[in-house]
Every structure is written in C-alpha cells, then in structure tokens.
C-alpha cells in the first residue's frame, strides 16, 4: 500500500526541463518509456502535431509532466493519471482532480500551461477552473518529447502528439 493517501501529498516537484522531459542522454535516437513526473517552467517549447505546419511555439510555459497508463479507463472528458513512485508503489488520480488540487499551487503568472501527458482515449478536456485565464494546451494520442538540434547548434524542445488542443 502506498504511503501516499492524498493527491496533495504526491511528490510532484519542480524539475530541470531536460530532466522532466527525460532528455538526459543526447545519444538517444528515439523516446523511451519512463515514469518520471513533475513540472518545469520552460521559456520556449514547441507543440508538434506531426502535420505539415511548423510546430506551435509556446513561450513562458508551465509544463506538467504526467503519465497515463496505456490500459487506463476510457473517459470522455478526463484522464486517469498514474504515479509510479520511487518506492515501487503506485497511485492513480483523475487529471481533473489533480489539476484542481495542484494548479493553484503551481501557477506563477506563466503565459501558458502545457500538459505533457498521453491521452490515448482522446478525452476532450474541459478547461480547469484552476487554470484561471491562462491558456492550457493538452494533447490527444501519445506524447513524446524531443530535443531538436539545428545545424547551427540551436536547440528546441518539442512535444509531439497526434494533435494539440486548447482547453475551452
């Protein structure tokens, strides 16, 4: 049994952006599964839907790194999160409940909130009241993180999903 009994007690901590996105090995050619979670304040991140248009650049973003299970329940307007803890225990929580609890504590005047979270059942997420007036972007489908390095050495962080949506 997990010692975590309340969502508020989850060890949801601020992380270095590269650590949050699991980009710590620059020799890795493709994303891999990992269970890390937390949040980071990222000056610029690109949201990629795989289409022909350039990825959407989101500046000054509060990025929440979260996970859903591939075999999680199909919910029309919510996602069941899972938190695999360092002690081997795991707990679940609905995204809506998690955001209601944690967003008020995390918000700090950022320009946007981005959910890095697989949404395998394509739930259409309503806008959480706890987001206030801050735009909140969420994906549908799998989400993977990438670090793109241009010929001139410029770097960009990119989150790839089937589609990105603005919660309304």
């Amino acid at each position: 049994m997990s010692p975590i009994q309340r969502i508020a007690d989850l060890p949801f901590r601020e992380r270095d952006p590269l650590a949050l996105l699991h980009i710590e090995d620059e020799e890795r050619a493709a994303p891999e599964d990992f269970a890390g979670f937390g949040y980071a304040r990222i000056p610029a991140i690109h949201l990629d839907d795989g289409g022909p248009r350039p990825p959407r650049l989101v500046r000054d973003a509060l990025v929440l790194g979260l996970h859903s299970a591939d075999d999680g329940p199909a919910l029309a307007d919510d996602v069941e999160l899972e938190f695999w803890l360092d002690d081997g225990a795991s707990v679940a929580a609905l995204l809506s409940v998690f955001l209601a609890d944690w967003l008020p504590r995390l918000r700090a005047g950022e320009a946007a909130i981005v959910l890095a979270l697989c949404n395998p059942h394509r739930a259409a997420l309503p806008r959480p009241a706890a987001a206030g007036a801050t735009p909140l972007y969420y994906p549908t489908g799998d989400v993977e993180s990438w670090l793109d390095i241009a010929d001139d050495g410029a770097r960009r962080l990119r989150l790839a999903a089937d589609a990105w949506h603005l919660a309304e």
Partner: protein, 232 residues
C-alpha cells in the same frame, strides 16, 4: 515505439514473406515506393472522418505512395461496420484478392460505447492494432459518432466503394495536397528559418538531429494490478 525499416517488394510479395514480426509496429515500408503507412494516423483518420469521402481523402494524404487507396464501407448490421482500404488494381470498384491494404472493424459494444481494430493485409500483413475503445463524447467524426445516436440507422448496408471517377478526384486532390506540403517529404519547416532536418515524430533526422526523450504513457507489466485511485 519501434520504427520498422524492413523493405519489401510490393508487387511480388508473397504473404508468407511478411511475418508477424511486424506485429504492431507503427510503420511499414515498401521497397518499390519507399511507402510508409503511419498506422496511428490511419486509425486517427477513421476516428475523425466525417464520412467515406472524407476518409478517402485523409487516408490518401497519409499514404505516401503513388497508388490511390480506395475505400469500401459496409455496415454488416446495426453494430458492426467494416472499412476496407484497397488498391483497386483493375479499377472495377470491388475489393478482390490481393488488393486489400487494411481493414478496420468497428463494433458498437453498448450504449455510447464502441471499439475498433485495424488489420493490415498484403504488403502490410501482420499489422494489427490493439482493440481501441470509443466512448460517446470523445472527439470523433460523424462517421463514428452517428453510431452512438439513439436514432442511428446503418447507412452502408449496401456497401459504399470508391468508384473510378472518385479515384481520379482523389488523385488530383492528393497531388494538390502534396504540392502544398513539400515539407513533409523534404524536411519540415521550423518556423524560425533554421533547419532542424526532418525529425518526424519519432525518428531522428539529417541535417540537424533530434534527440529522443520520453513517452508520457505507462505500459503496465502483464498481470500487474492497477493502482488505487486517490479521490482527494
């Protein structure tokens, strides 16, 4: 997910040459055209399609080969719909042996609930998607969402099939689409003027390169229990 780099000869390929090693690999490649089918996008196209014509358009924008993929849609009963993608090699508007590319079967399983699964055929034999859930209220196109309506009546008890005239239209539309989207084949624009190569979604690219990070989903070990849900 893995990226498959197996090459296959499309025209002369005996089915036995395609083993189940391909399994659920998301990509398949054929040698003669370097054709890739992104199955995630095919599955997504069905979810989002507003009808057979819209599905034809979406599928052929996904498919990167020269052939046009025709579509056959048949409602087998009030619950089950089968969509077949095929190369209509003899242009007779019917699905024949050796022409099938994929099939998608959708089954209504309860009130506001359904599931669907995609299978590959011919050069794509061996691909099979997981059985994917559909729930009323998801972001779905009307081709699926109509099935959740209490007044739903199956429309395609008499099958819809892409006819020769429509194939010509699709070819023209796709040519226009490809001309308008060269970045898909020649490297994706960065929006900054920099070249980041063509990293695609899950692959590295050149010039420039892409470093893979993590996937924000979790795959549970077989038989492992689901954790308890915290409610507050």
């Amino acid at each position: 997910m893995k990226v498959l780099a197996v090459t296959l000869a499309l025209a002369a390929l005996p089915a036995v040459a395609c083993t189940n090693d391909r399994g659920n690999d998301r990509w398949a490649t054929t040698e003669n055209t370097n054709v890739k089918i992104d199955w995630d996008k095919v599955n997504e196209a069905y979810k989002q399609a507003e009808g057979p014509a819209d599905l034809e358009r979406r599928i052929n924008e996904i498919y990167e080969g020269d052939e046009v993929i025709s579509i056959a849609v048949q409602d087998q009963d009030a619950k089950t719909q089968v969509v077949t993608g095929f190369f209509d090699k003899n242009s007779n508007g019917t699905v024949e042996d050796g022409e099938k590319v994929f099939s998608i079967q959708r089954d209504v399983t309860g009130e506001g609930q359904a599931q669907y699964q995609t299978m590959g055929y011919g050069p794509y034999y061996g691909y099979h998607s997981p059985v994917m859930s559909l729930v009323s209220g998801m972001l779905l196109g009307s081709m699926i969402s109509h099935a959740f309506s209490p007044t739903y009546v199956p429309v395609y008890t008499r099958p819809y099939t892409t006819n020769a005239a429509r194939r010509g239209e699709i070819h023209g539309e796709r040519s226009t689409y490809r001309a308008a989207n060269p970045a898909r084949f020649q490297g994706k624009p960065s929006g900054t003027g920099r070249s980041y190569g063509n990293p695609g979604r899950r692959t590295g690219g050149s010039p420039g390169r892409s470093v893979g990070g993590g996937r924000f989903g979790l795959t549970r070990r077989p038989g492992a229990p689901r954790p308890a849900r915290l409610t507050a």
